[in-house]
Every structure is written in structure tokens, then in C-alpha cells.
Amino acid sequence: MLNINLYNSKDEIAWCPGCGNFAILDAIKRAAAELEIKPEDLVMVSGIGQAAKTPHYIRANGFNGLHGRALPPAQGIKMVNKNLKIIVASGDGDAYGEGGNHFIHAIRRNMDITQIVHDNQIYGLTKGQGSPTTAFGQKTSMQFEGVMQQPLNPLALAIAAGATFVARTFTGEREQLKNLLKEAINHKGYALIDILQPCVTFNKVNTFKWYKERVYALDSSYDPSNKAKALEKALEFGDEGIPTGIIYREEGKPVFEELHPVIAKDEPLVDRKWEVKNIERFLKEFE
């Protein structure tokens, strides 16, 4: 186990006191320390949003890109250097709204990366508008008559799209959060963890208490390899309870890095040796 202080950033944190993001940040550091991933071997990738500031608050490589666009660079980085561990950290707006198309296709590509979604069911950075996971009918700082769209179910969507690791947790369950992160990082393939977290400033409905009263951890009798059952669990959300833990896990599906003949070679692409005269053999067919 590495010293957790290795991951301490000097940057001043701009999150509200009591924000669920703090628990997530702490869990990432602990998971990395316990898995002995050195800061130089870890890349935190994000888009834009409160959650997307995470790369600034952990001392590791980081790519804080454009809103909704965390997954494309994350995959590009992994393709070029498969030795790096990639964690994509973004919010529900970034991951499921602006970045919805990338979400679906990253699942299809199944690279060995971990995506955590800080899901507070509201837009924080832009001050309280409805997000793709805001409840139907909820009044917000923009939807004055209430949200008129049905909320997206990201877990069900991920399972249907073919994701091989789909989990949910809550920032109030710190040990489960850290352990799921470790499982997700160790999972071979794309892994999604939807992390329910209260937004203390802008979401007065889905509070810490609201989540605490509804979440329940799936016990050992639950078989996460059963896809139909998993879909059923994924659809469970609200007053009837919110299951947490690994909702779906499928082992053995090939990852993109194994399928792509160039990436599958021993040395990562970044170490490729190339000289101008290597082009000569490609010019022959045009002579």
C-alpha cells in the first residue's frame, strides 16, 4: 500500500462544504493507494462541471477537457499508452447529457477504463438546472413548471449497451464506495460506477437523508452475472429502495486493447520507433 499523501494536490478546493464530492475524492485516493497505483501511472480525465474539477484535487496526471467530452480523450490516452490507469470522473450532466453519445460508444468499445459519475441529479456548476437524472416533475432553477422529461436510467442503459461492469453506490457509504472503485479499476474492460451524492446547494429533494433512507446494499445472495436480473435491479430506483453494489458484472469479454493488433503488441504505442525512411516500402505500390 502506498502513502495516501502522495496523491495530495496543493490546489485549493472550490466545492461547497458538505458536498458529496469530498467523499469521492477521498475514496479515489484510498483506492489508488491500496492498489499501489503511482501518481505518474494514473490519469484522471474529466469534462466540465463541479465533479470535473476532481483532476485538480488529486496529484496524478490529469486531463480536464471540454464539457461532455471526457470519454474520447480518455480512450485516446489509453490507446496510446495502455500502461496508464484511467479514471474518468464527471457528473450526470457531463456524462449522460452533453456526453451521452460518447457514453454509449465507449461501452461498445470496451476499453479498460473506469468511469465514475458523480450523480447528484442536478446541475451544480450552472446553479441548479435539471439534469438527465433529475426526477420527473421536480421544480428547478430553470424548470419552473417541473421537469417534463422522464429521468434517464444510466445503469439500465449501460447494461443494455453491453457494459461488463455496472455498479451503484452512495457517498454516505464510504467503504463500499472505495471497495467498488477498487473492483472497477481491477475489472478488465469498461466499468461504470454511478455514485449518488447530495448536492447540498441546489438539490433540496435528493438530500443525504433521502438517499440514506432508500439505499440498501445487495448481499451475497445476489448474482451480478445474471443479466436479466441485473436489468431488473438497475430499474429499481426511488421510494421502493435503491440497490447498491455491483449490479452487473460479466467476465471474459475481450477488451479493445486485446482486439486491436497494434495495441495488443507488448510495447505501448507511445514507445513506437519510427524513421522517415520506413515510408519507402509503402511508396512501392505507387511506383
Binding site: K10, D11, A14, K38, P39, E40, D41, V43, V45, I48, K53, P55, H56, R59, A60, N61, G62, F63, N64, G65, L66, R69, L71, P72, P73, A74, Q75, G76, I77, M79, V80, N81, N83, L84, N101, H102, I104, H105, H260, P261, V262, I263, K265, L269, V270, R272, W274, E275, V276, K277, N278, I279, E280, F282, L283, F286, E287
Partner: protein, 559 residues
């Protein structure tokens, strides 16, 4: 000496096979080729054609003259017969009812069926064409596609020979020796230039006429050790390429105008993150879907400022297939040196025109990698990605390469150590650091190529693919005693101004020649130098201007 052949028919009739074969045979016999395609946006039907221009000198443009037509359908015969010169002929199958004094009806289908392969019609037409021009049959077998079975191969060889016996020779193109050459189109030249320059990452979404760059790269990715990835949209394409570049790849993306429009937000990301990136725009007429399979130069104004905010960028265009190879190579070096965005403009005309070019000279080419290593850091020093330096370029480490050091990049305005800031002082320092690259880029831009008399009365200015038309028109007009010259720009931004100010001072009339409606180079020149165009020759019908056409327009509109 010059001849022009047209091969036309409906999409799906195998025109590409015929024209590819003829081009190779002509090259084998020691003649230069310039062939351009004219096709409709459909996989079947319509009237598609390829024009093959042949000369004993290097060619840079197509021509509208015709000496010979291979008509695979009636439309081709009807559409193009009037362009044939006095001696010109048109060959077609006897089954196509087309009565004309220039028509030579041949029993192509009947003979092909006798050989047992109805598709051999094309090979028979090739044989007849070779005979007409007096091209030698020697060695043609090597061009029969290798994908064919032995039996089909033999029938095709037989078909060429049979076609050869069908008509009489009108010309006698004897085998010549020419310097080492390559026969390729502009998009392939771009792909090869990129590969030579160390490209190892290309992510894109298919869009005509940029797709064939990606297709070639994809075909070679395993052999060359590159990653060529088709992604869900152009937004993903550019963001993925930026991620790859951050991780240490030589990365590029490409599309046509519509796809490039989608990429625009991330131009600024490359700019503020200071990540090297090359973006290819293979232009076609817009706006929106426009004319998908035709040509235009209408994305220049758009790309000069595309994306919000201000950051340094370089915009260059390629003028022909040879230029495309060297400039793409250079673009990757410049993006790496200045850690910013370099945009390459080409267009459908260059993308699909196949041309004989002198073999590429590789000895003078050098891959300049500017990725730093741990030596740039003093003992105990923590790496800062955006460290302020004398010239604004910070040493670029890539993640995972230096023990204990991390590399953070950010789309927000940031401090030297990459963290988000609102500080006015830091903002000014980082803006000035980045924008200074634009000043440095001015030292690296290449002057336009000039052709014509040293003190021209009429100065034509153009960019990119009009190179061939400008060169040919000036040669013709100079030959007729007209006092004219032309500047053909490759690099466009920062705008190289030395030759421009020199020749503009001598000229009485300056005319911009562009494939667009608004005269975008003319505007750029006015903006950067205050030099105003006196006249414009603009074309926006989706068809590339050619030498003779430009001569006529200069005579009609300028002289």
C-alpha cells in the same frame, strides 16, 4: 504533346478499374498522367466519368479537351461527344444505339460473352484504347488485379489482347524513359506524408471527400504500427486525437467542412491545453450538405477564426499531390514544435485527382520531436506543464514517462502548474505566452510560389488546388506576350507577405482566383496587408477551374 481520354458510364460499371488500369499502362510507357474524377453522390446509376490527361511533361491540372471517349453507356456518349476535337473518336459497344460520325461501334459485349466473362468488356475497351494511341502491350499483365482467380486473370489478359486487335492505331506513343515517379491522388499523398512524419494516431468519422485518407491509413495501420480509429462523431474524433497527443502520439484527425464544423470547440481546447494537433479539412461545397461529391475552396474564412476565444493556429493549404506529401509532413513537425493546432486545407479536386509526381525525396526530411524528458527538471523540481519561458513554449512531458512527475492539462485558464485560476496577472501572462507562438510562426511560414514575368502588369493570386490552373494559364498567356504572373499560396495563416508586397507593388491589376463566392483569400490579404484586389475570378459551381478556362476568363474579365 498532349492527349485527353474520358472514361464514362453509370456508377457500378467499373470505370475506376478501367481508368486505374489505363493510368498505370500510360505511366509504364513513360508518360505523365493527370486524371480527375467527376462523380455523383450515389453508388449506382447517374453519369460518372474520369478524364485522363497524358503528356510527356509533368501535369498539374486537367483539361476540357478530348481526344478519345470510352462510353460505357449512352449518356456518356451524348453528354461528352461535342467536346471531342476534330480527330477525336468515341468507342462504345455496338449494343448502344448512338449514331455519330465520330462513333466507333465495337462488339465488346459479344466478344466478352464469347470469352465467358461479361465483365471483361472494360478490359477489351482498355486494349482498344492502347492500340488507338499506339501504346505497347508489353508488361500490361502486371496491372490485372491480383484479387482475380487465375482463370479470370487469363480471360482478362485475353480480353485486352482482343480489344487491341479491334481497331487501328491513330497515334504512336512510343515507350519513353522518365525519372522515377509515383502515381497517386492527393489524399493518398497526405496519408503518406503523415505516415512519413511519424503519424501514429488518426481518429475520424467518414465524410466525403476526406474518407480516403482514413481508408488508406486504416489499411496500413498494422504494418506501420498506427492506431486508426473510426469513432461515433467528429466531436469524439478530435477530442480523442487530443487525448492521444497528450499521451505522446503524433495525432491527427480529418473530415470535410461539415465534420470540421463539429470539431470547432476542440480547436480551442488544443490551443489552451497547448497540445499538438493536425486537422485536415478536405473541402467540398457547402453550406450544410452542399454538393457532397464536388469541389470548392470555401472553408478558409471559417477556419481562420473558428472556435471562440483567441489562440495561436496555423492554416496551410496543399497545392497538388507532391506538395501534399511534404506539407503534411511539415504540419506534424510544426504542431509539435509550437504545441498547437495546425490546419491543412485540401479539397475534393485534389483528393480524387491522380497524378504522376517525381518520387519523394526523403533524405532532407527530418522528424522533429519536441517531447521533453526528465532532464528539463532540476533536482527536486516539480514539473509545471505551463511554465513561463522566454519564448512561451513550455517543455512538454508526457504522462507516465518520468518517475514521480505528473502531467496535468486544463481547458480552463490556468496557472503554470495547470490549476484553474481567475487571476488577472496569470491570465495576461498565459495569454501572452500562448499568443507569442503566432509571432514565432511567422518566421516559419513559407512564401507562395510565383510563376510568370518578373514585373507583371497583371498579378493573379490563388491558393491550394488552383495551382495547376494558375501555372498553366500564366505559361499560356506569357507565351502570347501577356505581361502576367501568379502567386500560388500554400501557407495562409500567418499570411506570408514578402513576395505578395513585392509583386503587388509592380502590378497594375491584382486579381484573386478562387473556388468560392466571397473571395476569401482576397479578404485575408486585405485584412493582413491592406492590399485590395482590383478584380476577382471566382467559381462556385463545384467544378475545378482549369488552365484554358482561366486563360479565357482573364482575357474576358481582366484584360
Amino acid at each position: 504533346m498532349e492527349f485527353n481520354i474520358l472514361v464514362g458510364g453509370e456508377a457500378g460499371q467499373g470505370m475506376d478499374t478501367i481508368s486505374d488500369f489505363l493510368e498505370k499502362v500510360i505511366k509504364l510507357n513513360g508518360y505523365y498522367v493527370f486524371s480527375n474524377k467527376d462523380y455523383m453522390s450515389r453508388a449506382r446509376g447517374g453519369n460518372n466519368f474520369t478524364q485522363i490527361r497524358i503528356s510527356d511533361k509533368q501535369l498539374f491540372s486537367h483539361s476540357n479537351k478530348l481526344d478519345f471517349i470510352i462510353a460505357l453507356d449512352k449518356n456518356t456518349a451524348e453528354f461528352h461527344v461535342d467536346r471531342l476535337n476534330d480527330k477525336g473518336v468515341i468507342i462504345l459497344d455496338e449494343g448502344i444505339k448512338f449514331e455519330h460520325e465520330k462513333a466507333i461501334s465495337l462488339p465488346l459485349v459479344k466478344l466478352a460473352n464469347e470469352l465467358g466473362l461479361s465483365r471483361a468488356v472494360g478490359m477489351m475497351a482498355i486494349g482498344a484504347t492502347m492500340k488507338y494511341f499506339g501504346l505497347s502491350l508489353e508488361g500490361f499483365e502486371r496491372f490485372i488485379p491480383t484479387k482475380f482467380t487465375e482463370q479470370v486473370r487469363n480471360i482478362n489478359i485475353e480480353a485486352v489482347k482482343k480489344g487491341y486487335s479491334l481497331i487501328d492505331s491513330q497515334y504512336n506513343l512510343e515507350k519513353r524513359n522518365i525519372e522515377d515517379t509515383l502515381l497517386l491522388n492527393g489524399n493518398t499523398a497526405i496519408a503518406l506524408g503523415a505516415m512519413a512524419g511519424g503519424l501514429n494516431f488518426y481518429s475520424a468519422y467518414p465524410m466525403t471527400p476526406a474518407t480516403s485518407v482514413m481508408t488508406y491509413l486504416s489499411k496500413k495501420q498494422v504494418e506501420a504500427g498506427m492506431i486508426v480509429e473510426q469513432v461515433e462523431d467528429e466531436i469524439a474524433a478530435i477530442n480523442m486525437a487530443i487525448g492521444a497527443s497528450y499521451a505522446g502520439a503524433r495525432a491527427m484527425t480529418g473530415s470535410s467542412g461539415g465534420g470540421v464544423s463539429l470539431m470547432v470547440e476542440a480547436f480551442g481546447l488544443a490551443g489552451i491545453m497547448e497540445t499538438p494537433l493536425v486537422v485536415l479539412d478536405s473541402q467540398r461545397p457547402g453550406p450544410a450538405t452542399g454538393l457532397p461529391t464536388r469541389t470548392e475552396q470555401s472553408d478558409l474564412s471559417f477556419l481562420l477564426t473558428a472556435s471562440h476565444g483567441e489562440f495561436p493556429r496555423m492554416v496551410m493549404s496543399v497545392r497538388n499531390a507532391e506538395d501534399a506529401f511534404y506539407q503534411t509532413f511539415r504540419a506534424l513537425n510544426l504542431a509539435d514544435r509550437f504545441q498547437t493546432l495546425v490546419i491543412i486545407l485540401t479539397d475534393q479536386y485534389l483528393a480524387d485527382s491522380k497524378v504522376t509526381v517525381p518520387s519523394f525525396k526523403l533524405d532532407d526530411l527530418k522528424i522533429e520531436s519536441h517531447i521533453a524528458d526528465g532532464k528539463v527538471l532540476a533536482k527536486g523540481e516539480e514539473y509545471k506543464r505551463y511554465k513561463l519561458t522566454d519564448n512561451g513554449i513550455s517543455p512538454r512531458l508526457i504522462p507516465g514517462q518520468v518517475p514521480g512527475q505528473v502531467v496535468l492539462v486544463d481547458s480552463d485558464e490556468h496557472t503554470e502548474d495547470s490549476h484553474i485560476t481567475e487571476s488577472a496577472e496569470v491570465r495576461i501572462a498565459q495569454m501572452e505566452k500562448r499568443m507569442n507562438k503566432l509571432e514565432m510562426l511567422k518566421e516559419y511560414v513559407e512564401e507562395p510560389e510565383y510563376f510568370g514575368v518578373e514585373s507583371p502588369e497583371i498579378l493573379l493570386v490563388g491558393w491550394g488546388s488552383t495551382y495547376g490552373a494558375l501555372k498553366e494559364a500564366v505559361e499560356t498567356l506569357n507565351g502570347e506576350g501577356v505581361n502576367i504572373g501568379a502567386l500560388s499560396f500554400g501557407d495562409l495563416y500567418p499570411l506570408p507577405t514578402k513576395k505578395l508586397t513585392n509583386y503587388a507593388a509592380k502590378a497594375k491589376v491584382i486579381v484573386n482566383v478562387e473556388q468560392n463566392y466571397t473571395g476569401q483569400l482576397g479578404k485575408l490579404i486585405a485584412q493582413e496587408t491592406g492590399i485590395l484586389m482590383n478584380k476577382s475570378i471566382l467559381k462556385y459551381d463545384g467544378r475545378e477551374i482549369y488552365g484554358e478556362e482561366l486563360v479565357e476568363r482573364v482575357k474576358g474579365e481582366v484584360m
